[in-house]
């Protein structure tokens, strides 16, 4: 199964997420940090790995919706290729960040095992309450057909 035709696939490039806002609460940061195996950071600093889920949820989408957009489901259908995360300053709890972004590239390739694989990248930018750029992420996923 290929899920999406190449035309449908290329049509997703430029897709913009709804955009929105997200406030990282203390409990969420505490649990997330605990999952990494360390103590909470001081002074309301959030653990840097919030840049996985906070941009996705804050921009008004979800992992489920991204899977649906890419036409994939089931175990083994999605893999992480890589991240490029930039921090223009430390991120904090209880700050409302505004986010915007979209899908920036999609490429269909045949992998070494002869399977059809789509490489999808999406980029999201976070702005703080003064509208300064706070962070920017580019995530690259592999969608297996």
């Amino acid at each position: 199964m290929t899920g999406l035709t190449e035309t449908e696939l290329h049509g997703l490039v430029g897709h913009r997420f709804a955009g929105g806002r997200y406030r990282i609460e203390h409990w969420e940061n505490w649990l997330l940090t605990d999952c990494t195996g360390r103590e909470p950071l001081p002074d309301g600093l959030v653990h840097p790995i919030v840049l996985f889920h906070v941009p996705i949820l804050g921009v008004g989408t979800s992992i489920t919706e991204l899977f649906e957009l890419g036409g994939v489901s089931g175990p083994g259908s999605v893999g992480l290729e890589g991240y490029d995360w930039e921090y223009f300053g430390p991120l904090h709890e209880d700050v409302e960040y505004r986010m915007e972004g979209g899908i920036v590239s999609l490429e269909r390739i045949i992998d070494d095992a002869g399977r059809t694989v789509d490489r999808m990248a999406f980029e999201i930018t976070l702005f703080d309450e003064a509208e300064r750029m706070a962070a920017r992420i580019t995530n690259r996923w592999v969608l297996r057909r």
Partner: protein
């Protein structure tokens, strides 16, 4: 251990080890991420992937171990950029160690920054590899 104020190219970052990747933490993480992907909690479902009885750790957690190494070394607000690629999956019960090495020290926007080659290894195999840029502001290690 290097003091960040006196960091030099070639310095090794003190490693950070997760002694056993915990499936309970994967379940909590799945809830926080609102992640429906069953590979993180459905052991039987992973049989089709050739991983019967095992669950796969989230990529952000694998990166989190690398970040914890950086935070312990250079302080709680040190991270400026993370660029990583994911290789092999990390499974519950795995012992993984984050390691890194300084490849450049530069002054940018009034900050002294170190660019570091970083990786996560399991039994000597690199399962995550990449580059981190951190700010050096004296000995601000928090551990």
């Amino acid at each position: 251990m290097s003091e960040p104020a006196t960091v030099h190219v070639g310095d090794e970052i003190p490693p950070w080890t997760m002694p056993s990747v915990d499936p309970a933490r994967m379940r909590t993480m799945a809830a926080i991420l609102r992640d429906p992907y069953s590979v993180h909690w459905d052991r039987e479902g992973n049989a089709a992937l050739g991983l019967p009885g095992r669950v796969i750790n989230q990529g952000p957690l694998n990166l989190g171990y690398i970040v914890n190494m950086l935070l312990a070394w250079a302080g709680p607000s040190c991270v400026r950029r993370l660029t990583v690629s994911f290789g092999r999956p990390v499974l519950d019960g795995d012992i993984v160690t984050a390691r890194g090495r300084v490849t450049a020290v530069t002054d940018v926007d009034g900050e002294r920054r170190a660019t570091c080659e970083v990786w996560l290894e399991r039994d000597g195999e690199h399962v995550v590899t990449g580059t981190a840029v951190v700010v050096l502001v004296g000995d601000q290690s928090d551990d």
